[in-house]
Every structure is written in structure tokens, then in C-alpha cells.
Amino acid sequence: MDIERQLERALERKPPSPEFAARVLAAAQMQSRRRGVWSNWRQWIAAPLAASLLLLALGIEQRKERQEGEAAKAQLLQALALTSGKLEKIQELVREVQR
């Protein structure tokens, strides 16, 4: 008894049911569709999210610039006030000399 030959006979390849390939293909297409929907969904979420982040960054930048401008304005006013005080003192001195 050649058991190896018997095994080869018993283990000959068999085809699956005739609709097998179509079924697998349909499942693969569904997988692609799900992947596509997921990809589109991510696109729909990603675009507004990116725009929001951009606006937020711009807002932060503008606020920072406004704060810097206000600080510069305050410094300028302070400098003008100091200059004005010194000018008054000089004028007083000039007036005393003229008397």
C-alpha cells in the first residue's frame, strides 16, 4: 500500500463553489467602499479643522501685535510726558534768566 500516493489522491485540489470568486470580489469592493467613505469622512473633517486652526493662529498673532502696539503707544506717551516735563523746566529756567 503506497500511502503517499493515496494521500496525493485524497489531497487533490478541489474548486470552491462557482460563486466564490464573485463573493470575495464583492466583499473586496465593499472593503474599498468603506475605505473610501472613511477617507472622504476624514477629508471633510480635516479641511474645516485645518481652517479653524489657521484662523486661531491668525487671531493669536493679531492679538499679540495689538498688545505690542499698545505697549509701544504707552511707552511713547510716557516718553512724551517726560519730554514735556523737562521742556517746562527749561522754559522756567529761561524765564528766570530773562528776569
Binding site: 500500500m1 503506497d2 500511502i3 503517499e4 493515496q6 494521500l7 496525493e8 489522491r9 485524497a10 489531497l11 487533490e12 485540489r13 478541489k14 474548486p15 470552491p16 463553489s17 466564490f20 470568486a21 463573493r23 470575495v24 470580489l25 466583499a27 473586496a28 469592493q29 465593499m30 472593503q31 474599498s32 467602499r33 473610501g36
Partner: protein, 198 residues
Amino acid sequence: MRILYLKMSAATTVARPVVNIADRTIDFEAVIRGHQSMVFSLAVHFLRDRAVAEDLAQEVFLELYRNMDSIQSHQHMVYWLRKVTSRRCIDQARRTKVRAHVSFEEAAEPFIWTQGEDPALKRYVEQLLGKLGETARMIVILRYQEGLDPMEIAGMLDMPLATVKSHLQRSLASMRKRVGEATGEAIDDNQQDSQHGH
């Protein structure tokens, strides 16, 4: 290699999946049709249940579809399919305990042997195969369905070559003994020895 998608003809339809193997675009249906017998046969010979085997084969092809990026050639794809099918079969059998463990000694007497009654012998051999342990059964199937040598089987199942050879020898010896008993043929020791080289 990468998975490509054909242009969609309508908003509601999905194009036929195609894959790119070694710079050649191939319809995925051709891949399935070209290898469905191999994958299904591995599963059905191992699990001995057509419906379960078809489900498993479908899962294997879907996994292939998801992993096409990693496939480098046609030979690689065949190797990948055999490997994944083998592993899934063994996992499935262990998970669901498809095979109630019955030793050869406990196995029911198979058939009334008459000379030349090949289909009955074939069924008996299939029955004996189903009684083997998961690893031994897959080794025998890879050896005699796919014609792989023990070295290739060892690589596929990630196990030492000596273990594969040992499983093969023990499985063949047990099956030969049982078939010999059933058919009333004497066991040919010379024949046994000659098969150790596989």
C-alpha cells in the same frame, strides 16, 4: 506594489478592484480565480467542512487585498497565501475545536475493503487525516497537496526542519498502519524507510 482603484463610473458604484504586482496591473478577480483552488483546498482538507473552508478562504483573500503593498512578486503571493491559510486553519481549529481529538486506535472502523474500491479508500485516508493533530495535519497537507518539501514547510510554519520531518514520519507510519489493517495488506518496512527522506 500597491492597491489601485479604477475610476468610478458612477457615484453609487465601486470599481472592480485591481492590484499592481511587479509593475503589472492585474484584476483582483484574476488573482482570486488563479489561487482559489489552492487556498480553498488547504482549508477544506484541513477543516473538512466546505462552508467553513469557504469563509476562511474568503478571509484570506480579503487579507491579501488589504496587504497587497507588501507583496513583491507572484511567487511571494503564492507563499503568502499558503502561509496565511495554514496559520488561519490551525488557529481556527484550535479556537473552535473543530476536530474532536480521537486517537487512531479510537477511530471507528472505516469501510469494508474490496480490491479496487478506490473512493472508499480515499475517504478513509481523508478520515485518518482528520484525526491527526493540527500541526501534523497541516504538514501532511502541505506536503501532499502542495508538494512542498520539508524545508519549505518548516519555513512556512516557522518550525525546525527536524520537527517537520518527525511529524511527517509519525503521521505516515500511523496512517500506513491503519490503512494496512483495513485493507489487510502487510506493512512494508522498506517502503516506510524510503519515505523518511521526504
